[in-house]
């Protein structure tokens, strides 16, 4: 303790200075590729589209674009997007957790590398290409349709493509690796002897899972949920390829304003709404997890034991 206290303050200051310098590239990156574009979007969202051939103008500032953005068509799509994102994230967790658990706990270290590659290779493949792959698979004339007709499960062409279900399937497929990876890291880091200890102390598999595995995997679950949910909310490739009219998402509407309608002001207002909504949901996630944490502490049956200070 004293050694730290008496360390020469000069050396420490110089150290802090050099650390600040090292942070410069990331700070510049953030300023130019996040803060500036975000500021521009925010700024444009208060403007208007003055004429057919001009994308935006900030001569007159108002909140009119927000009013315009929040029309019923946008809200319907927005609600559908949120639905797809929440269901998609939940499905990714439900599918991803057993896979990550199997990889981290059951597989031999050598097999883990191979399975990890199997998880990652599709992810490295071009996003559009893999989504088009599903378009081919799900199309009414596709081989899946033929196969299902052949074995008699289906009578008539497969009617899944260009629906919300197709988008749901597509996003789960596209974002699953982003869920598996953080879960795998969290579970792999867990000391497996803790599960033995739990079993030794009277817990069966299921109880040990809830009292040891889940609490220790919680940081991984959190990052997985965020890594999947946030980009999923803004996804527009998957619904563009698989969704058709009945499965469109907000990302497409934003892109439409920027690319087709050339109305950057309205597109910006929509984008800001989307970002606020994501932020809101992330905050809700945070609150929810705090509550789960409290509930788990209750479940541990001794949440109040420490605080009561009865033990000394």
């Amino acid at each position: 303790m004293t050694a730290v206290a008496t360390a020469p303050p000069r050396a420490r200051r110089r150290f802090t200075g050099s650390v600040g310098l090292l942070a410069l590239p990331i700070a510049a990156w953030l300023v130019f590729f996040f803060i500036v574009p975000f500021g521009l979007i925010l700024w444009y969202s208060f403007g208007e589209k003055p004429s057919l051939y001009v994308t935006h103008s900030n001569d007159v500032l108002s909140l009119a674009r927000y009013v315009e953005a929040l029309d019923p068509a946008f809200l319907t799509t927005f609600w559908r997007t949120t639905q797809i994102a929440i269901v998609g994230t939940a499905l990714c967790l439900l599918i991803g957790f057993p896979i990550a658990y199997w990889m981290a706990v059951k597989l031999s270290p050598r097999a883990r590398g191979i399975v990890l590659a199997l998880v990652l290779v599709p992810y490295w493949t071009n996003f559009l290409v893999r989504t088009i792959g599903w378009q081919i698979t799900l199309s009414p004339e596709g081989f899946l349709s033929d196969f299902l007709n052949g074995i008699g499960v289906l009578n008539g062409p497969l009617q899944v493509l260009y629906t919300q279900q197709a988008v749901q399937l597509g996003v789960v497929y596209n974002y699953l690796p982003l869920m598996i990876l953080p879960l795998y890291v969290a579970l792999e880091r867990m000391d497996h002897r803790l599960l033995e200890a739990s079993r030794d102390l009277g817990g069966n598999w299921w109880s040990s899972f809830w009292r040891v595995t889940i609490p220790l995997a919680l940081p991984g679950i959190m990052s997985g949920l965020l890594l999947v949910f946030v980009p999923l909310m803004g996804d527009y490739i998957t619904p563009s390829v698989l969704g058709g009219a009945s499965g469109s998402m907000v990302g497409q509407m934003v892109a439409g304003q920027f690319q087709r309608a050339q109305n950057w002001a309205l597109g910006s207002a929509m984008a800001i709404c989307l970002m606020l909504a994501i932020l809101l949901v992330v905050i809700l996630f945070g609150v929810l997890f705090k509550l789960i944490g409290v509930a788990l502490a209750r479940f541990r049956h001794l949440g109040d034991l420490d605080r009561a200070g009865a033990i000394s």
Partner: protein, 373 residues
Amino acid sequence: MTTHLVDEARAGEVTLRGVSRVYGKNYAVRDLDLHVEAGEFISLLGPSGCGKTTTLRMIGGFEYPDTGSISIAAKPVEALPPYKRPVNTVFQAYALFPHLSVAQNVAYGLRYQKTPKNEVRERVSEALQMVRMGSFAERMPAQLSGGQQQRIALARALVNRPAVLLLDEPMSALDRKLREEMQIELKLLQQQLGTTFVFVTHDQEEAMTMSDRIAVMNQGRLEQIGPPDAVYDAPTSAYVAGFIGQQNFFTGELSGGPGAWSVTIPGGTVVSTREPAGSPVVGGVTEVAVRPEHVTVSATPTGGPNEVRSTLMSVSQLGSALQIVTITPEGLKIMARSPRGIDLPMTPGVDVYCSWPSDAVHIFPTTTATESE
């Protein structure tokens, strides 16, 4: 785990009959018979890979025997999972739950016994006081030292009042001083509680200090079992003789008969009044073992039965004694342990005489003896 209603006197009994565990083609444990009395402190002692940990894990329920039966409190348990056995384990690296406080760690098992909340609090407090960690209830495991973590692991296991406590090399991560303190403390605790302790260690001193009986294991088999002094004074094999304490080993041809055996070694003869272990063959090659503390080193010949002239190589201080190493003209090294202050020229290279009483000589059939230390 659950408090079984069994005959009190037999609650802590553990019996293994013909237990084997095979990994691939190798026997980790082979045809093991072991009976542990209720309230006994027994050590499974042996080098790494001798099967002692596998044996412990089979008693705990983390591994299942391929053949044989295991019973605890006179009830067969070999098919039961760990959480249905009346045993608890102190793991080698303690395996404390990092997300739970010390109190929550200790209380972990009580939940499964459906202990009422007030009683949980009492018993946790009691268990922490027992290991002298009462003021650490609110800490997290990461905030504790290795020795403190070990005490918590002990409290977490004992709070459940198991019939048998299994300890898997719990001291191996502690420094020597702390380890010696913990050995005494653990022994006192065991005597006070009367719980059966099955203790796995590779440290023979540790086993000697604490155990009522020591089971020496080698290559998956039980070599010898008995009280520490019996295992030390009357080893039944060269392996046990070499593993427990230090030995001088010589190899030579056996002659003589009951009461007066002798073994011809290079440059002399070793005589013994003890019966050889196993089935001795006169004329066959045998191993002779003499403990360093039985060897007397003197500057002049004493005319005793087992006397070898040799050259002093080194003298080192052990604190309470001296360790003397000499070498005979034939190249045999002899190690001796003498009290300090003996009358001896301490310069390496001088001639000395090593001798030992003939009742301190053990004769074994030839095996590949492994010397400890």
